[in-house]
């Protein structure tokens, strides 16, 4: 930033935080007491850039806002409670913060207010550099404009056309991506999502005027459509269809970039509302009300969809409409296939993700039935698949042990089967659980602890299960090449596994650098898209038979 002549920040009271915030913005604070003198001070300081006020005297506040408005200077209100803030909003202050605020927050508020005033087309904010506005006006991750920008840009148009359609796009289960893969992955996925949404809307003839809003650090998007003057607004049915297509489009893009495991995990629910312009109600309130209605509509779509999924799952169980993908686990040094992990996927697209399928099953109390079907299918497929000493890794839930039918393997040798138990499930009764494991171990089964190191269980609990394999949590492998704490943690796990006589498996290997790093640390077994994609071996014959 090139140091230019200092500009002023006027305030009716100053403290250290405000002074620091002003310093960050390279503004000098001029304190004006009492607040009633501020309107005159605005005129007296031609290089005033922003005003921060704490007064909640309505007469004074109104005078300040009016005076500042003439000079295109933003007013930022330092409120001590919600009531004061709402009143200040009524008087049209440009931004506010809860006092006492931190210097950083205050600086951001002032900056964003400056940016908005500048976006209205005058040069009042030229003191700050252009790129800094852009940080505030556009969500850096998605490149989408933020709500204040869109409101300013569309205000005139909406008044002119008299109506606007608000779409609310609710993205579900993005938090799950963070939980499973870590925050780095979620950032990448959000980037892909935003790009896909933009691409879809560009290609979709929704109307002449569209505006998109992204929320930083949130999963949802809002989208405004201002209908063409001579064109009717889309019907509810058309909107539903657009939503369906959008979900498909974004899903495909995510699958190309991040694989089916990620793409099948999430859903988009779209709600919409129609806002008609009326001069009686303040523009911002109209829009926010519209957003709320659209958000509620999105939520009810979600609830309907949940009900539909339970029905779909019952159908899957009845028809046996699921198939197994086998994801190879290989020796890190040689790439030789050591075994396969069986992943169950529902035939209906909405139940493609095992996580989603089991989530629905848990809601509908159908976990045992689903588990049983998945296991049967995995074992049936494994017979043709396994060669030599290769093993089959099957995910199980601790509750499965209570299922009397659990452990019936058809003609598969138990010595070829590794039961994966996730570290994420809480095991309440350890002695009883260990006893159950022992009987299975005596029959030849082996055990793996899945998602190890995710923080749900300590090493003590893992040791308690006496696993033959320890599968590291995916979030530890993602970007391990650049994170030395992850490397250190994985080293610890490798050492621990050696003591326990277990083998470590690193899953989720997507990049060559990740593979090199885990090999260097001494992880013997690896799994991930870099090495193999999951293979759909021997498409479940039963599914075809049942559907025929």
């Amino acid at each position: 930033m090139t140091p230019g002549p200092r500009a002023f920040l006027l305030s009716d009271g100053t403290d250290d935080a405000l002074a620091e915030a002003a310093e960050m913005l390279q503004l000098d604070v001029v304190a004006v007491h009492p607040a009633a003198l501020l309107p005159a001070a605005i005129d007296a300081h031609p290089s005033a850039r922003a005003i921060v006020v704490a007064t909640d005297d309505p007469v004074v506040l109104r005078a300040i806002v009016e005076r500042a408005g003439v000079r295109h200077i933003p007013v930022i209100f330092a409120g001590t409670n919600d009531v004061a803030y709402r009143r200040a909003i009524e008087f049209r202050v440009d931004d506010w913060y809860l006092a006492p605020g931190s210097p950083i927050e205050i600086a951001w508020r002032i900056r964003s207010a400056l940016a908005r005033v500048s976006a209205q087309g005058n040069g009042a904010g030229h003191h700050l550099e252009r790129t800094e506005y852009e940080e505030l006006l556009y969500d850096t991750l998605t490149g989408m404009p933020t709500l204040p920008v869109v409101l300013e840009r569309t205000r005139g148009l909406i008044k002119d056309r008299g109506e606007v359609l608000v779409f609310y796009l609710n993205f579900v289960r993005y938090s799950k991506i963070e939980e499973i893969y870590g925050w780095e992955k979620l950032d990448q996925v959000l980037e892909t999502t935003a790009g896909a949404v933009r691409e879809f809307l560009d290609a979709n003839a929704l109307g002449t005027m569209r505006m998109m809003v992204g929320f930083a650090n949130d999963d949802d998007f809002i989208f405004f459509q201002i209908p063409d003057k001579n064109q009717p607004a889309p019907s509810d049915r058309q909107i539903t269809e657009i939503g369906r297509q959008l979900q498909l489009f974004v899903g495909n893009r995510l699958e190309e970039a991040h694989g089916e495991d990620v793409s099948s995990l999430f859903d988009i629910y779209i709600g919409s509302s129609h806002v008609y312009y009326t001069p009686k109600i303040r523009f911002e309130r109209l829009i926010y009300r519209g957003i709320r209605e659209a958000a509620n509509a999105a939520r009810s779509v979600e609830q309907r969809e949940r009900g539909r999924r339970v029905t779909a799952l019952k159908q899957v169980l009845h028809d046996g409409a699921l198939y197994i993908e086998f994801h190879p686990i290989v020796l890190a040094e040689t790439g030789v296939i050591f075994g396969y992990e069986a992943l169950a996927r529902g035939v209906p697209r909405s139940l493609r993700s095992p996580e989603v399928m089991f989530e629905v099953a848990a809601e509908a109390d159908l976990v045992w039935e689903l588990s049983r079907l998945c296991r049967d299918r995995a074992l049936a497929g494994a017979k043709e698949l396994l060669h030599g000493n290769q093993l089959l890794f099957v995910n199980i839930d601790p509750h499965d042990f209570a299922d009397p039918g659990f452990g019936e393997l058809g003609s598969v040798d138990p010595h070829r089967v590794v039961l994966e138990i996730t570290e994420r499930t809480a095991i309440k009764d350890y002695p009883k659980f260990r006893e159950r494991l022992r009987t299975f171990r005596e029959r030849g089964f082996r055990f793996a602890v899945d998602d190890a190191g995710s923080g749900y269980a300590g090493l003590g609990s893992i040791a308690n299960l006496e696993p033959d394999f320890i599968k590291l949590d995916i979030s530890l492998i993602n970007s391990i090449d650049t994170n030395f704490i992850k490397q250190n943690l994985v080293e610890t796990m490798v050492g621990f596994a050696k003591e326990q006589g277990a083998m470590v498996i690193a899953e989720g290997i997507e990049r060559a650098e990740e593979l090199e790093t885990v090999k260097r640390i001494g992880v013997p077994l690896v799994q991930g898209f870099l090495l193999h994609r999951p293979e759909r071996a021997g498409v479940a014959a039963g599914a075809h038979a049942a559907r025929a």
Partner: protein
């Protein structure tokens, strides 16, 4: 701001002596360093100086090192580029897990050994993506 300060390492420690020792260690190895004594000062310097690397003490009055780490990671422009090293012993597995979730890249155990610190700084600076 002079050229050396532009790539200076930000050291954050509420204890003046500790901060100065780390700064002296860094400077003895040819690295430029700037010092902040609490979370707010750290955020202000982070904002203005955009350090490629931050060495963060955990136990500080006010905002803890973890909170500062999280805040830095959320910074829209510089949050993903910066390397963050915690100045603490992550002795327990759970400490390491929460450090990873908070967004830390590395750690150096206190009391700081000059050799450890230098190795840590070098391997992290080596991963800094050059700024446009």
């Amino acid at each position: 701001m002079d050229a050396s300060a532009a790539s200076a390492i930000l050291v954050v420690d509420d204890n003046d002596d500790n901060a100065e020792i780390v700064r002296a260690m860094l400077e003895s190895r040819g690295f430029a360093a700037i010092v902040a004594h609490d979370g707010d000062e750290a955020m202000a310097l982070f904002e203005s100086a955009r350090p490629p690397l931050v060495l963060l003490d955990v136990m500080m009055p006010g905002r803890s090192g973890w909170e500062v780490c999280r805040l830095m990671r959320q910074h829209p422009e510089h949050g993903r580029a910066v390397r963050i090293v915690m100045l603490t012993a992550l002795a327990e597995l759970t400490d390491k897990q929460s450090a990873i979730q908070t967004g830390a890249d590395d750690y150096v155990t206190k009391p700081i050994d000059l050799g450890d610190l230098e190795r840590c700084v070098r391997r992290n600076l080596a991963l800094v993506t050059p700024q446009a």
